[in-house]
């Protein structure tokens, strides 16, 4: 049987038989395996670039269970580029107050006031099935405008053979099996990636011996929109840590860290879960259990994300603990990085080796995420007596001393990685330019006097000039970069100058299609610009 591993939240791409199932194998430019958030983002990104994609998923919609709830600013900015940022923002919950407890004592409270002059907040809370649905809605809109995207539900990939410059796939459907061929395959088939297994590739790292119980509860009671986190919670039987977090539709995410030696069946008994939740919310709290599950996690990654014509993205390539919300968020960044590169390679504008830079840059990102999430885990679950002594010392000091608060680590929220020192980078010659817009960084958003900067960046490569001259377009080796001309005084708030000029009077930036900065100078220099474009597409 195809599918059925989980219930779906929305049936958005029901199975339909296609003529190809009764024909000789047909060759596709790009086949994506897996229609989770990462696969859908990949289909959308490539389709919007005009690169034909076929997405195969073994179910017919997003899974019912809420997994990811926290989506970061960079994910929202990427979604904005893909067309659905506003929808996500409108549905998502924004919060800024967090409280940290140790036992019954309040350790401290924080208020993450958003920095002004960005279109998107640092993060929103939203159930993963909604996130996926908004992407799929956007795929439908793109299709209606002619984007070459096809989604086939209940199509399970069961076999794979690598050929010299393509891949052969066996696909199982409710009407039986058929075969297809792909010039390029993107494996977005999740942490247990069947594609990875079929290719015999490893997934190494650390398994954490811990079980987490999730209960999503619906509660209409007046409860503040805040994030509450307990170390060693005082309520009965609640384990080592607990989290309470708001989602849309009056749903609250409750997380209990249960330890390693548990009986899953006993713990999932609704009566037992209710007893825990009662203890947390206080006697008499009115709520419904909407969804519950127990999960364990590991911090693992593949050594390389490119294997010939097969590219791995999202959980299939790397997995982290949920603390810090880096799973789906980093998967979306994989696609941000992969989409433009693959479509340039397919269009013959860049050498195939450009795809190695996808692996290099995203392995670098995955390492950063694994490091952060491992550190959070070590703080949450001290691995030795002395680490627990220090952990509790930090929590105690944080009650009265500000210095200890930044050391409290219940998850470091996902921020995009800066591709520092990577091979595609050009020169950083803007003397004392701001650190946040250094080469390798994603463009910080800023007001421009006429809307936000990221909204105004044209598609493709961009030459951003601030109070500097440059031609409207530079075409090098077939790759065009178009100019966006801004002037610092147009932004009365001064944020644009702050984020892009620093002490400099003018600046010229070369920006990649994924909005990462490829090079910067004080003024336009044609020879240097051409060299930087060549380098950024791997032609050096």
């Amino acid at each position: 049987m195809v599918g059925g591993r989980y219930e779906v939240a929305f049936r958005l791409y029901p199975y339909r038989k296609v003529a190809e199932q009764d024909m000789e194998p047909r060759r596709h430019r790009v086949v994506i395996v897996g229609g989770g958030p990462v696969g859908m983002a990949a289909a959308l990104d490539l389709g919007l670039r005009g690169t034909p994609v076929l997405l195969l998923d073994d179910h017919d919609g997003p899974g019912l269970g809420s997994r990811a709830i926290c989506f970061s600013k960079r994910t929202l900015e990427i979604a904005d580029r893909l067309g659905c940022g506003d929808a996500l923002l409108e549905k998502g919950v924004q919060w800024s107050v967090g409280k940290v407890f140790h036992g019954a004592e309040r350790v401290f409270e924080f208020n993450l006031q958003p920095e002004k002059g960005h279109k998107y907040p640092a993060f929103i809370n939203l159930q993963q099935p909604y996130f996926e649905k908004f992407l799929i809605d956007e795929v439908r809109r793109a299709q209606s405008r002619g984007a070459p995207i096809e989604i086939r539900g209940c199509n399970q990939v069961t076999g794979l053979r690598e050929r010299s410059d393509f891949v052969e796939l066996d696909v199982e459907t409710p009407d039986g099996a058929y075969q297809i061929e792909a010039d390029w395959l993107i494996a977005c088939d999740g942490a247990r990636s069947p594609v990875r297994d079929m290719m015999g590739l490893g997934f190494d790292g650390r398994v954490f011996e811990d079980n987490f119980l999730i209960a999503d509860v619906r509660m209409t009671a007046d409860f503040p929109t805040e994030r509450w986190f307990w170390f060693e919670p005082p309520f009965k039987d609640s384990g080592q840590s607990a989290l309470l977090h708001k989602q849309p539709d009056d749903i609250w995410r409750i997380d209990f860290q249960l330890g390693w030696d548990i009986d899953r069946k006993v713990e999932l008994d609704p009566a037992k879960i209710r007893a825990r939740v009662d203890a947390m919310l206080g006697e008499g709290a009115q709520y419904d259990l909407v969804w519950t599950s127990i999960y364990t996690f590991q911090c693992c990654r593949m050594e390389k994300f490119r294997h010939g014509r097969v590219l791995f993205a999202g959980d299939s390539a790397h997995q982290v603990s949920p603390f810090g919300a880096r799973g789906a968020n980093s998967g979306i960044q994989d696609i941000d990085n992969l989409g433009w590169k693959l479509s340039m390679v397919i269009d013959g504008l860049a050498p195939e080796s450009l795809m190695d830079s996808y692996s290099d840059e995203r392995v670098y990102g995955a390492e950063e995420n694994i490091l952060n999430s491992t550190r959070s885990t070590d703080f949450l679950t001290p691995k030795s007596e002395i680490s627990k002594i220090f952990r509790n010392a930090v929590l105690k000091l944080a009650q009265s001393h500000e210095f200890a608060r930044p050391l409290v680590n219940s998850g470091r929220l996902s921020v995009p990685c800066v591709y520092e020192g990577m091979p595609l980078n050009g020169p950083d010659l803007l003397n004392q330019g701001p650190r946040q817009s250094r080469v390798g960084a994603p463009c910080p958003d800023a007001p421009t006097g006429q809307g936000y900067l990221l909204n105004r960046l044209p598609a493709g490569f961009v030459i951003l000039t601030i109070d500097a001259d440059a031609p409207a377009q530079v075409t090098e080796a077939g790759v065009s970069a178009s100019r966006l001309a801004l002037s610092a005084p147009e932004d009365a708030s001064g944020a644009l100058a702050d984020r892009y000029l620093g002490a400099a009077a003018s600046g010229v930036y070369l920006i990649r299609p994924d909005q990462h900065i490829a090079a910067r100078w004080p003024e336009f220099d044609e020879t240097a610009m051409r060299a930087a474009i060549r380098r950024a597409v791997g032609k050096d």
């Binding site: 010392a393 930090v394 105690k396 000091l397 200890a404 050391l407």
Partner: protein
């Protein structure tokens, strides 16, 4: 500034006495927690990661 490993505390005997006094009446567990807090407070005061690194090495012997 490198880590200062030359004598630097005025009235060393007085300091030593004060340090031990602070632990007076504490159980082993309480003393360990106290030490951990003290280390964190002092490291924060120093702030310089390189100096702290040198101190960690010096303490390791």
């Amino acid at each position: 500034m490198p880590l200062n490993l030359a004598p630097n505390i005025p009235d060393g005997d007085g300091f030593y006495d004060e340090l031990l006094q602070a632990h007076q009446g504490l159980s082993k567990e309480q003393s360990e927690a106290f030490n951990a807090r003290l280390i964190l407070i002092l490291c924060n005061h120093i702030g310089d990661r390189e100096v702290i690194r040198q101190a960690l090495r010096a303490a390791a012997g």
